[in-house]
């Protein structure tokens, strides 16, 4: 981890400042929390289009004849069978099975892979990849500072983007990527996101970020959106956030994401034995969705309590849901809590506010 106390500015910092964004230090980067109303930003993504600066995310490239083999060894996913132009959601785990980060891996060319890491974990992921890839014929190159990442998310995203690119977006499937030109800027265009809506993530050279942002932000109906809206969007979509649902103390199984661990792949991978053992024992705690009956939002760290007031879980994320109009949360429940329980509450600063357990996600686009 960097000990540098001065947060970095993304290539779009001046644009955010000019828009009057509330800028906060997030994982060592000054990022827009919101521009005006985070609820309006959230709703724009659900109904039209929102524009996000995600340049704090890490872009790490692996290149070489054994890049795929190195990733198969370093990550829990099965990378070798991926076709060029495809993306995969996966994780990098510690030898004890704990999650170091959740990642998206894109296969850009036969021997070129892009690993996108969370801002808070870029150094951890890069260092682990360098170490784990050292016996393979591949280069690991952290190019996070050279790239800006701009996301256009929402049901109108494709129509808007098509005004500025000749890339065949209608043929680009979810979790796929192609290279093209958007508004005259060379971009890697990925149909991925973290909002529960259709949308695109555009990887561009840092120097081109302002030009691309201004073109997209200039489209009527496109709403610049901050991290606050991004958090409620991903929460409604039931997507985990590293540091909340996923930590180095959590396995993918507890988070309900055991499907990303590909034991069937050939060869050893870091964490395999520990994960196999912990998969067996995963009848421990489980991640669930909660909907509050009242108006108080369960928050990260609040205890979930049973009928007699005994703690039986912990909230990992929670917020008022703009789409549902009531507070929602994700929480880990102890194994002892019955599946059909209807007697849970969350300790909101000393008061037990009743909640209902629901299946994730809270919101699924139609």
């Amino acid at each position: 981890m960097s000990a540098d106390p001065t947060p970095k500015k993304t290539p779009l910092y001046d644009v955010h400042a000019a828009l009057g964004a509330n800028l906060v230090d997030f994982a060592g980067h000054l990022m827009p929390l919101r521009y005006a109303s985070e609820t309006a930003e959230h709703k724009a993504v659900r109904t039209g289009a929102g524009l996000f600066d995600l340049s704090h995310m890490g872009e790490i490239f692996l290149t070489g004849p054994q890049a795929a083999a190195a990733l198969d060894h370093a990550l829990v996913g099965n990378i070798t069978p991926m076709a060029v132009g495809k993306a995969r959601y996966t994780m990098i785990c510690a030898p004890d099975g704990g999650v170091l980060d959740d990642l998206i891996v894109y296969r850009l060319a036969a021997e070129t892979y892009l690993v996108v890491a969370n801002a808070s974990n870029v150094a951890v992921v890069r260092d682990a990849l360098v170490e784990r890839a050292k016996d393979f014929e591949t280069e690991v190159d952290d190019r996070s500072d050279a790239y800006a990442l701009i996301a256009l998310q929402g049901p109108d995203a494709q129509d808007i983007l098509l005004r500025f690119t000749e890339a065949p977006l209608p043929e680009l499937k979810y979790y796929a990527i192609l290279s093209g030109t958007v508004a005259g800027v060379d971009a890697l265009i990925a149909r991925t996101g973290y909002t529960g809506e259709d949308g695109f993530e555009l990887f561009v050279a840092a120097a081109d970020a302002v030009k691309l942002w201004n073109v997209l932000a200039g489209v009527e109906g496109v709403v610049p959106s901050g991290l606050s809206a991004r958090d409620t969007l991903r929460l409604e979509a039931g997507m985990p956030l590293y540091g909340n649902e996923l930590t180095a103390e959590t396995t993918p199984f507890e988070a309900g994401l055991g499907r990303v661990v590909k034991f069937e792949k050939s060869g050893d991978f870091v964490g395999r034995d520990a994960l196999a053992a912990r998969a067996e024992a995963a009848a421990g705690r489980r991640l669930v969705g909660l909907v509050a009956r009242g108006r108080r939002a369960p928050r990260k760290g609040y205890a979930v309590v049973g009928p007699d007031g005994t703690p039986c879980g912990v909230v990992t994320s929670g917020a008022p849901s703009p789409t549902l109009g009531k507070p929602i949360a994700m929480a880990y429940l102890d194994a002892s809590v019955p599946e059909d329980t209807s007697e849970l509450a969350v300790d909101v600063r000393g008061r037990h506010e009743p909640v209902d357990v629901v299946a994730l996600p809270f919101y699924k686009r139609s």
């Binding site: 509330n22 929390l33 109303s37 606050s228 409620t232 108006r295 108080r296 008022p320």
Partner: protein, 129 residues
């Protein structure tokens, strides 16, 4: 950000209006700076009701926004004479008009108010934060 000249401020980002009123009833709310920092306010609760007493500097309620929960402090000591039902009902009014329609409660002050800040001092406090 400039703050209204005629108000007085607490370090916990409440404002007080009407300290010179003959009936000793003052109006209390939270500042624009606080409202902006909290984000959109979705829930507001005052623990004491009308007729109850509050002590300066003591927590007397909670403000919950999309992102966080904060305690609300009374900047003065006295008896609560009114609570703004409109902001309890729709707390977002505080974001829209923190110094006007977004007032939160009124207090008949009993003790002389302590170290409240004038507008210039409050401006300085928020610039440093």
């Amino acid at each position: 950000m400039s703050v209204p000249e005629q108000l007085r401020y607490s370090e916990e980002h409440e404002w007080v209006a009407g300290l010179d009123n003959e009936d000793r009833i003052v109006t209390v709310g939270i500042t624009q700076h606080a409202a902006d920092a909290l984000g959109e306010i979705v829930f507001l609760e005052l623990q004491p009701g009308e007729g109850d007493t509050v002590e300066a500097g003591e927590a007397c309620g909670e403000v919950e926004s999309t992102k966080s929960v904060s305690d609300l402090y009374s900047p003065v000591s006295g008896e609560i004479t009114a609570i703004n039902a409109a902001v309890i009902d729709e707390p977002k009014v505080i974001n829209d008009d923190p110094y006007g329609e977004g007032w939160i409660f009124k207090v008949r002050i009993t003790d002389e108010p302590g170290d409240l800040l004038d507008a210039a001092a409050y401006d300085k406090l928020t610039e440093e934060s």
